[in-house]
Symmetry: C2
Subunit: 213 residues, 2 copies
DNA sequence: GTCTATAAACGGATAGAC
DNA sequence: GTCTATCCGTTTATAGAC
């Protein structure tokens, strides 16, 4: 589906794929509500009516993109990590995998597929519930792994919900700001951020930090 | 300006303040583009035309809120931290201060003043440039502090831009998910997240982390 | 599959009465 | 300071020709 993934041979992608790529970029840049179907049609190079030959509605288009995004996360990040028994190793795989996944598609507007996942407010109640449930399952997977690490005495003295939030924050913020023309390589960015996240949540002795007075 | 700040005596706040509070909450929940002036008027309890007696335009309303939000950050977080000479102490104050600031206004939709700062795309070019410049100044302040820490050999082996991003991600993600009815106290959340952020970026010996194969 | 044309509703913003 | 009424551009979505 994603144009950037095609390599070598000239990209031959159908109208449907073109629509998804351009819609995701526009939703990401301007936001869902500020993007009109006419904007998307123009980006693709067809008319608004032509666009409706492929998609039933603007909302269905967003839902399709969100579902695809969650599918990538589940298949590319969660599934491989689930095969890892050791929780510290598993957490390392999750953090690196999710960061890699975010960096894999680098557009001038960040990572559209990750960013549009925050537009659940634009979906009808039942569609929003579906996406939220899949997000909650991912979050529970991360927290469960942190719980195991804590049970093994390998976690820093932190609440596992807070640790999950911190890790998510680091990853999702990357998706917002990263641009393909950056100074650092993909691997450098992943290593830096994963290092900070893992060092932050994993215990390395009883070194506690003081709050400022 | 902010309703939650009033204590003791019954809150007597003017129309203008009511408008700001409700607009910020709506912009935060639905997004700027998805919020109509009629929505805001209804929340305040006046008509759309009545609303225009107080605000010149929808965009000016957003800009006012964003400017106020940056003012709070600069006065409540940056200014006190600038008085601290030691860079590690200063970073600790910044992280705790910013987290406290985010937690100070806790609505059922997170922290509106922080979240609406991501709507610069809805502003005209010159207004957007003003807000972006103030954000960049804050970011440079954090990174400069990290540079000093690195020069003192007290930073983990990370790029200071990446460390800034990680810290921001942790704080901004909190602003998105936190709800006032939570299980943990404000201090617990601040301490947990600040601990993770500081432990992540500060060096505690040459303990490097390996990437998964 | 893509177009022109158009329906029906909603958006920001204003005029002018009270 | 708040209202009713209204202007006018834009929006989602559809009808129907080619």
């Amino acid at each position: 589906m994603w144009q950037e993934h095609t390599t070598g041979t000239p990209a031959i992608i159908g109208r449907r794929e073109q629509i998804y790529v351009h819609a995701a970029q526009l939703f990401c840049t301007r936001g869902f509500a500020a993007t009109s179907m006419a904007n998307i049609a123009e980006a693709v190079g067809i008319t608004k009516a032509g666009l409706y030959h492929f998609v039933a509605s603007k909302e269905e288009l967003l839902f399709t993109l969100m579902s695809f995004s969650m599918e990538r996360l589940e298949e590319d990040v969660v599934a491989p990590a689930q095969a890892i028994a050791d929780p510290v190793e598993r957490l390392t795989a999750i953090v690196h995998g999710h960061l890699q996944s975010v960096m894999q598609v680098t557009t001038p507007v960040g990572n559209p597929l990750t960013i549009i996942l925050e537009e659940t407010g634009a979906l009808s109640a039942d569609k929003a519930a579906q996406i939220k449930a899949r997000k909650a399952a991912y979050s529970a997977f991360v927290r469960g792994t942190l719980d195991e690490i804590k049970a093994n005495g390998q976690l820093a003295d932190v609440d596992t919900r807070m640790a999950t939030s911190a890790i998510m924050g680091i990853i999702l913020w990357l998706a917002r700001w990263h641009r393909p023309d950056g100074r650092l390589s993909v691997n450098d960015i992943v290593d830096n951020l994963a290092g900070i996240a893992l060092r932050g949540v994993l215990g390395s002795g009883p070194a506690t930090l003081e709050r400022p007075k």
